[in-house]
Symmetry: C2
Subunit: 236 residues, 2 copies
C-alpha cells in the first residue's frame, strides 16, 4: 500500500540545491516549505514514505529539525505520522474527498453569502486566476490549469475577508491536490470547469453574489461526483 522512498540521483541533487534556500527564517519552517512544495509538485507522491535519514542527509540538516518540519506538515494534513513507522505522504480516502467538498462547500459558499458588495481587489485576483487558467488550457498545460483553478477558489475564499477562512481553504486545497496527483488524466479533471468558472466570475463581477453562490453549489456537485468517479486508488 505504501511505497518506499528511494533517493535517486536526479532529485537528490535537486534537494541539495534546496539547501541554498535555507538562509532565511527558522530552519524547520523552511524545511517544511520545501517539503510542502515538493509534495504539491508531485515529487513525493501520496503513499511515499519519507525516510528521516535520507532527507536529513539530502537537506543537510539535523534529525531534530527535520522532525519538527514533519510535525508541521502532518498537522496540515499533507503528511501522515505513524508511530514507530515514520511519516508518509498522505493518501486520501474517498471519505476524505467527500469531507473536503463538504467543508469547502460551507466555507466558499459562506464567503459569497454574507457579501453585500464584492471587494474590487479580491475580484481582480479571481479574474486573474481565470485568465491564467484559460491561457494554460490554450497551451495544453493541464497541471497549470489545475493550479489556476485552485487559485480561483482561493480568491473566492478571500472574499470572506476572514484570515482564518482563507488559511483554512488554503489547507483544504493543498490536501485536495494530493488527490489530483494520483488521478491519471489531469485534463479530464480541470477542463470541464473552465467555462463554469468564468461564468461564476462574471456573476461576481456583476455583483450578483446570490447567483454566484448557486453556481458555486452546482460546481461542487459536479466536481465532487466527477473526482470520486476518477479516484480509485488502492486505498479506496
Amino acid at each position: 500500500m505504501f511505497y518506499d522512498l528511494v533517493v535517486t540521483e536526479e532529485w537528490g541533487a535537486r534537494l541539495a540545491g534546496d539547501r541554498a534556500l535555507l538562509d532565511r527564517g527558522s530552519t524547520a519552517e523552511r524545511v517544511a516549505d520545501i517539503l510542502r512544495q515538493r509534495i504539491t509538485e508531485g515529487v513525493f507522491l501520496p503513499g511515499t514514505r519519507l525516510s528521516e535519514e535520507s532527507l536529513r542527509e539530502a537537506l543537510g540538516i539535523s534529525r531534530n529539525t527535520l522532525r519538527e518540519a514533519f510535525r508541521l506538515l502532518a498537522h496540515e494534513g499533507l503528511l501522515e505520522h505513524q508511530l514507530n513507522r515514520g511519516v508518509f505522504v498522505r493518501l486520501l480516502s474517498t471519505a476524505d474527498i467527500r469531507d473536503l467538498y463538504a467543508i469547502r462547500r460551507i466555507l466558499e459558499c459562506g464567503a459569497l453569502r454574507n457579501l453585500s458588495t464584492v471587494p474590487a481587489e479580491a475580484a481582480a485576483e479571481a479574474g486573474a486566476a481565470i485568465e491564467a487558467a484559460e491561457t494554460a488550457a490554450a497551451r495544453g498545460d493541464w497541471g497549470a490549469v489545475g493550479t489556476a483553478n485552485m487559485r480561483f477558489h482561493q480568491a473566492i475564499a478571500d472574499l470572506s475577508g476572514s484570515r482564518r477562512v482563507a488559511e483554512t481553504v488554503r489547507g483544504l486545497l493543498a490536501e485536495l491536490r494530493l488527490v489530483f496527483l494520483v488521478v491519471a488524466d489531469p485534463r479530464q479533471l480541470h477542463e470541464p470547469y473552465l467555462a463554469g468558472n468564468r461564468a461564476l466570475y462574471e456573476l461576481l463581477a456583476a455583483g450578483d453574489a446570490r447567483a454566484a453562490e448557486e453556481a458555486l453549489q452546482r460546481y461542487f456537485d459536479d466536481a465532487e461526483a466527477q473526482l470520486l468517479a476518477a479516484y480509485a486508488p488502492a486505498a479506496g
Copy 2:
C-alpha cells in the same frame, strides 16, 4: 505586554503529577495534550511565556520533545512562536475575535443550512450540553457554563457530519477560550445566552433548521458585540 512564567510550587507539583500521564502514545503529543489542558484551564494565562527549561524540568522530558509539542500547539493557535524569543500563550487581538466570529458564523450556520433532517445523536448531545449549562448556572459555576456552551456549539458543528468542520470548530472554540480567560466577569459572558441557546435547541429538536440558523445568526451578532465590549486587554 507579556508576563514571564514563574514556576510556583503548587502547580510545579501539579505538573510533576502529570508525568504519570506520559505512559501511552507519543510523548510529544501527550505533552501537547497536557499543555493544551493547562492552557484552557487558565493555569497558563494568555501572554505567559513558556520557558523551555522550566517546562522541560517540570515534565521530566527532553527539550526536543517539548519543542515538538510546542510546534503542535502553535499550529493550533494556542501558542505563539516568536523566533529566538520563545513561545507564549496566545494573546488574541480584537481583530482575532472578529475573525473568529466570522468563520464560526460561516461554519456553524453552514452546518445547519444544508440540513434536511436533524440527526438524533447530535441533537441529543446538544440537548445534554444545554442541560449541563443550566445546572451549572443554577449552582453559579459560570466557568462550567462557558464550557457547556462551547460543548453546545461543538454539537452544532457536528451536525454538519463533516470531520473537518467539527475539528476546525473545535480549534476555533479553543482559541475563543483564550479570550474568555482574560475577561474579568465570566457570568456576564455566558449567562445572557442560556435562554437563547435553549430556544435554538428547541427549534432544532422540532426540525426547523431554517429558524435555528436565523437564531444562531442573531446569537453571533450579540455575542460578538458583547465580547468585543468586554475585551479590552493591553494588546487591544
